[in-house]
Amino acid sequence: MRYNVHYTDEENAVRLMDVETVKDLLARRAYYLDGGDYAGELRDLWVQDPEKRKTASYGENWGYLVGMESLEKKYAGRNVPETGWGAVHTVNTGHVHLAYDGKTARGLFYDVYECSASRPDGTAETIVVCGPLACDFIKEDGGWKIWHLFQGADHVFTVGEPYAEVPIPRPDASNPVAREFPEPDVPLKTYDPDYGWADNYPPMPDPYYTFRPEESYGPEGHPDYVKEVTFS
């Protein structure tokens, strides 16, 4: 949908820089991940507003963590060994739409990363992961922040193992990324790489006027999300 909205030159300049800033924000996240600093990422880059903290979410193929308290406990609480651990995330192919009201933005990127961890026998396991990275951003007093983030995994290669031998469909037990994902607050088969991108999740952002949860990259934006309602 297109909206007939007119902006002044100054508003256009701000919008230009807003798109640049949200790309910058998601790029900065990669360097926190490269150092295994998940707590620092949440502290510095994610929403601070108390109401937005309640609805912040992080999703992977197997569901969502919801609320900053959950993210701080489960996402930032993941074990990152002090020795023999390394990672490099390369984020690219950004596609961003800034809401016409200027309060939020949505972006779809791609992340190709490697992550190595030592084994007890003195060797190491390295995985290479390729997957979509989708984000709802929101402008707070302190600037743009991450609100809902979805990090999908398309391909998960273990270096040194023939990829052709990976079973299809791949059991979670054989998937190093699945093993690392914490117990989700909203369990959901969000993304099934066995079927590629045909299901269009996470969807490419379209031009939009204002944020709506059902169009978000949080759980409510997933087409298979069913809100639990308790009748008394």
């Binding site: 300049a13 990669a30 295994g36 020795t83 390369t90 984020v91 040194g160």
Partner: protein
Amino acid sequence: MNHIDAEKLVTIWEDRRAVQNLMGIFSGHYLLKKEKNIVAEMFSGRADISLGINTGYYEGREAVEGYYEAIHQKNLLTTKLIMSKYPEEFKDKTPEEAYGCGLLNYKPLDTPVVEIAGDGKTARGIWTCRNSYSDLTTGGPVTFYEWGWVAADFVREETGWKIWHLLILNDVHVQAGLEYYEADKPYPPVPGFEDMAEFRMPEPNVKVTLRESYSPNRPRTPAPEVPKPYETFDPACSYGRKEA
């Protein structure tokens, strides 16, 4: 964010784009085997330019020029050996036309974070780099994978933004076909490529470990510092060697 007027915002946006374009061209120079032009075309004219790699800094104009001149000499040597080895394939080519044959090195730069100084005179940026390159060895062509970072201080000059202090740091450098913790395994010598054994890149003139490559014994190490908003250049926050 403090209020910044529209003209200033657009200038910042254009400067960020110019810095990113500069590094895109830098990346292209590796792909097109134009390394010998990098210093003259992309670096500042200042005397105090530098290039840092995992094992130290090439500090000063002469050292940085020496680094890229060595790559040029390697390209010449490789071209000569490959043309000699495969005369039929190169019978219609001059050495100038075949320059750089058999080599492929592309540094795709992702994940940009760029800050333009408040005074507009300098900039700082960092990128991630997921690189693969093919090299000629005494055992023939070999491919290597690299995962790491490229970061730089930039300075605005009359002809535009230029590189001042450059860092190219690898977290992983591994021969294709090996696990990420394994040392290179040279292939048996191939007749005609013996001269590659004589080629050596110059050592950094300031030897210091800037990045220990990944190993199962390495302590967890943060990524290189990511630029923060700043008003004016501070040597203490440089991608060149920090002053003591």
